[in-house]
């Protein structure tokens, strides 16, 4: 019994220590932005990489999600003659939840993994130590541009994903399910509030930060050559995905909870 309690205690303190290390890493990354030199070109490069090059994958997932959502809600709502709610359900689901969550998860897989692999490779090949010996702060040069890019880019991506997702629902609704296009658009617009979109964009900023933070953190602390870099990549994607879903619940509670 004591051995069991000891292992639970050790796991709990291990969790607290890991949380503390992650928080310290995030604060060091952000604090690096308080002092010059600044690297606007690096931030811009990360924004282009994280945003522009993620557009195809996020756009594709968004359009199919909107289409499936329209189909599923139609088949479900038709059981109690509520088909007219399809457009409203699609737009609210996409803007509040599915847009930010799906974009966050896709970017975690595409960008978070790449960040962890790139920084992890730099770690195991001494490139991060080389940065330090060349009078360059790795947090300012590597971590901060990625954190800022994550924070700024994902809301823009989600805005695009929202539009594409709603368009996907519209296409299925009007061409396959026989809705009148004007009525569908009216239904979409009538029940949509500013908070629905804004809450999704705030979530996106948080998710983007999480993706970049986990990519940088696990890459920065990778050890042991190719195997270590591979592990860092896995940890970055898995931890970012879990934190996205966890923070999504907390943010939803904060925005819409009773």
């Amino acid at each position: 019994m004591i051995a069991f309690l000891a292992s639970v205690g050790a796991a709990f303190f291990g969790f607290l220590a890991a949380t503390g290390r992650l928080a310290r890493f995030a604060l060091m990354g952000l604090a690096a932005g308080l002092r010059p030199p600044f690297y606007p070109r690096l931030i811009l490069r990360q924004i282009v990489y994280m945003g522009y090059y993620s557009l195809p994958v996020v756009g594709l997932t968004a359009i199919f999600t909107g289409m499936v959502l329209a189909l599923q809600s139609y088949t479900g709502f038709s059981r109690f003659n509520a088909e007219s709610a399809v457009a409203t359900v699609v737009v609210l689901s996409v803007t509040r939840e599915l847009g930010p969550v799906i974009a966050g998860l896709m970017v975690a897989g595409r960008v978070g993994a790449a960040m962890a692999a790139e920084i992890g490779t730099m770690r195991v090949t001494d490139q991060i130590d080389a940065l330090t010996t060349l009078s360059t702060d790795p947090f300012r040069y590597l971590v901060l541009p990625r954190l800022l890019a994550g924070l700024l880019t994902l809301p823009l991506l989600v805005l695009v994903a929202d539009i594409i997702g709603v368009f996907g629902g519209y296409v299925v609704g009007t061409y396959k399910l026989g809705f009148n296009p004007a009525n569908y658009l009216t239904q979409t617009e009538t029940y949509l509030e500013t908070l629905d979109v804004v809450s999704g964009l705030v979530k996106a900023g948080v998710f983007g930060f999480i993706v970049a933070l986990m990519g940088c953190y696990h890459g920065y602390h990778s050890r042991g050559g190719a195997e270590g870099v591979g592990q860092a990549t896995t940890y970055a994607v898995v931890s970012a995905s879990i934190l996205i879903l966890l923070s999504n619940y907390l943010l939803t509670t904060a925005f819409f909870g009773k």
């Binding site: 730099m122 001494d126 490139q127 130590d129 080389a130 330090t132 010996t133 060349l134 360059t136 040069y141």
Partner: protein, 260 residues
């Protein structure tokens, strides 16, 4: 090389552990101004850890490191950043930034670390590449397009680009063929003499150590077990040095099979 001036680098009682493994166990060593000190020792004896502690990349648990009489252990970040301007480092695996061109690698410390204008930094980078025997056309390549020997030369050019007072060489000839290793040794001697820099090298290549060292120290199990002039290495009266220099399996040095 001691000429009455205080040592450039002083290390006293340096201790560093990783988990339960004590890697440095009270290292005491000095390096005089303009001296080329080579630290030898088997793999895993703590040579790289010692250099990384002096550079400030690792934090020792105990002991003192003084550069020009200034204690650097526990130094503030801003002071550490200023101190880094005085250091150059050649890493074992070259550690070139593969996303940048060769000349950008060489000029990196000048542009990012010191805010130098790119055109001026590029001119300096090409001069340094020429100093290590590489033409301007190499500057436009990526590190991945270079051979191991050329990468080492580029790393050497990067280490000297800012004309540092102290240059560290981590296994400068490891992985190179004997001819290229000799080329790198000659370059190190030439550059260190021309710049008047203090050099600290770590290696287990005795040919290289004999060639580039003014003084040699041997590290074993986290302690300096012998140090003296390079030309005294064959008459050291140290069984550790004797076994290492002659590459014998039998002797007081027992190689650890497992890394910790």
């Amino acid at each position: 090389m001691s000429d009455g001036r205080p040592p450039k680098i002083v290390v006293r009682g340096l201790e560093k552990s990783f988990g339960r493994k004590r890697v440095l166990d009270g290292v005491d060593i000095d390096c005089a101004v303009g001296e080329s000190l080579v630290i030898i020792g088997g793999s895993g004896t703590g040579k790289s850890v010692l250099v990384k502690c002096i550079l400030g990349l690792l934090h020792p648990e105990a002991g003192a490191i003084r550069i020009d009489g200034v204690d650097t252990v526990g130094m503030r970040r801003a002071d550490r950043a200023r101190l880094m301007h005085r250091f150059g480092m050649l890493f074992q695996g070259s550690a070139l930034f593969d996303s940048l061109l060769v000349w950008e690698n060489v000029a990196f410390g000048l542009i990012q670390g010191r805010g130098m204008e790119r055109a001026k930094a590029r001119r300096i980078a090409l001069d340094k590449l020429a100093a290590v025997g590489l033409g301007a056309e190499v500057g436009e390549l990526r590190p991945a397009e270079l051979s191991g020997g050329m990468q080492k030369r580029v790393a050497l050019a990067r280490a000297i680009a800012a004309e540092p007072e102290i240059i560290f060489f981590d296994e400068p000839t490891t992985g190179l063929d004997p001819i290229m290793a000799d080329v790198i040794n000659d370059l190190i001697i030439k550059i260190v003499r021309e710049m008047g820099a203090t050099a600290v090298s770590i290696t287990h290549d005795m040919v290289s150590a004999r060639k580039i060292a003014d003084r040699i120290a041997m590290l074993h199990k986290g302690k300096i077990v012998w140090q003296g002039p390079a030309d005294a290495i064959d008459d050291s009266d140290s069984p550790f040095v004797d076994q290492f220099v002659h590459g014998r399996a039998e002797g007081p040095i027992q190689m650890e099979v497992r890394a910790v």
